[in-house]
């Protein structure tokens, strides 16, 4: 690659290139790559410098499949509930292509959208200590660092909250992985080599997101 970037440009490019990757090749993630990913994670900001994060690296196929079952089961339940109440149909009302709508509904209600972690070469289970002030924020910062380093390394990853969001599933995960009571199972980050290039997902216009001095007064004025 002959392109050169300033540090700021390179940082922004990594951020912009990050995707949620759910399909992986069978190629392993090297120990050197994993070391850099975990080093990035533990450099995240932390309230009171409590560093409440702990990470469980899961590579074994049997355990990956069990985690995939918990994740897929949880997603399947929640998305089916959204489907039977017609909220999913409302959410996808802009998708006109009937075949694509059906495929999207199937992917969500079946739980496939999260069960893929069974096939990821590496799953990083992020846990957070409860007895600190800022565990959700600290661990989320660590997760973003993981995702950015994964991208910088040319790998792919997906942040999967499905096996942890419902307390019933979190209990299953904690039992499966032996996570002690004083820690929460926060999320799983599935990592591997992506099978294809993913398009960027749309973002809201920045004019709608940023205000000046107080809520509601746009910072960025509409372009004439």
């Amino acid at each position: 690659m002959s392109e050169t970037y300033t540090l700021a440009e390179a940082t922004l490019k990594v951020i912009q290139d990050r995707r949620s990757v759910r399909e992986f090749t069978a190629d392993p993630v090297s120990e050197q790559e994993l070391d850099m990913i975990l080093e990035a994670a533990q450099q995240a900001p932390s309230g009171e410098n409590a560093q409440p994060w702990r990470f469980i690296i899961v590579k074994g196929e049997a355990l990956r499949k069990k985690m995939g079952a918990v994740a897929g089961g949880g997603s399947g339940r929640r998305f089916t509930a959204e489907f039977v109440t017609k909220k999913m149909q409302e959410r996808f009302s802009n998708l006109q292509d009937e075949a694509k709508r059906k495929a999207a509904f199937e992917k969500l209600t079946s739980g496939q959208v999260s069960a893929f972690m069974a096939e990821a070469p590496v799953n990083i289970v992020v846990c957070g200590k409860k007895d600190v002030w800022d565990t959700p924020f600290d661990t989320s910062a660590a997760i973003e660092n993981i995702l950015l380093m994964v991208t910088a390394l040319g790998l792919g990853a997906c942040w999967v909250i499905a096996p942890c969001i419902d307390i019933r599933d979190e209990e299953r995960m904690k039992a499966l992985l032996g996570i002690p009571e004083e820690y929460k199972a926060i999320s799983v980050i599935s990592v591997g080599h992506q099978t294809r290039v993913h398009r960027p997902r749309p973002r809201l216009p920045i004019q709608e997101l940023v205000f000046t001095e107080k809520w509601g007064e746009a910072y960025y004025k509409e372009q004439a």
Partner: protein
């Protein structure tokens, strides 16, 4: 021991404030963190009476406990394939849902629903999801989805 009963309004206002604080913190994700609330009551009052692995019997047992303990006035079930529609009338916690709705928040957690979910999941090993809570004149209308089986962990 002080045997004076705690005023219901006091309890419901506290429950509302706790739920509202949790909603303010966690938004729509809050509902998934409350799915086991009522477990102690379930373990103490419902489990000893759950003898049959039959769905109708399980539902009847939970309804009887809820009525006998004075938590609700009546519970009516209607099953349609995997959907279970429940109308709960005269619930002690109705005021909590009304206050939530008055603040523009859709009701998102229900202890009677949790007890039903816990009982079905435990006795039948079938996953259940609370899909909807609608507060109406004639009671709370709950919609549950009952799935065939848990995904295999084998």
């Amino acid at each position: 021991m002080n045997t004076k009963l705690i005023p219901l309004d006091y309890v419901n206002n506290l429950v509302y404030e706790l739920e509202k604080a949790f909603w303010d913190e966690r938004g729509r994700g809050a509902r998934f963190r409350m799915t086991t609330v009522g477990r102690e009551f379930y373990t103490e009052k419902v489990v000893p009476l759950l003898h049959s692995p039959d769905l109708e019997e399980i539902l009847k047992t939970v309804r009887d406990v809820l009525q006998n303990e004075g938590i609700v006035g009546s519970v009516v079930y209607e099953q349609e394939d995997r959907l279970l529609r429940i109308r709960v009338e005269g619930c002690l916690h109705r005021k909590v849902e009304e206050k939530m709705a008055a603040h523009g928040i859709e009701p998102w957690t229900c202890v009677p629903a949790n007890l039903i979910v816990l009982a079905i999941e435990e006795k039948l090993a079938r996953p259940v999801e609370l899909a909807e809570i609608k507060v109406a004149e004639d009671g709370c209308h709950l919609l549950l989805v009952i799935f065939d089986h848990h995904p295999s962990l084998a």
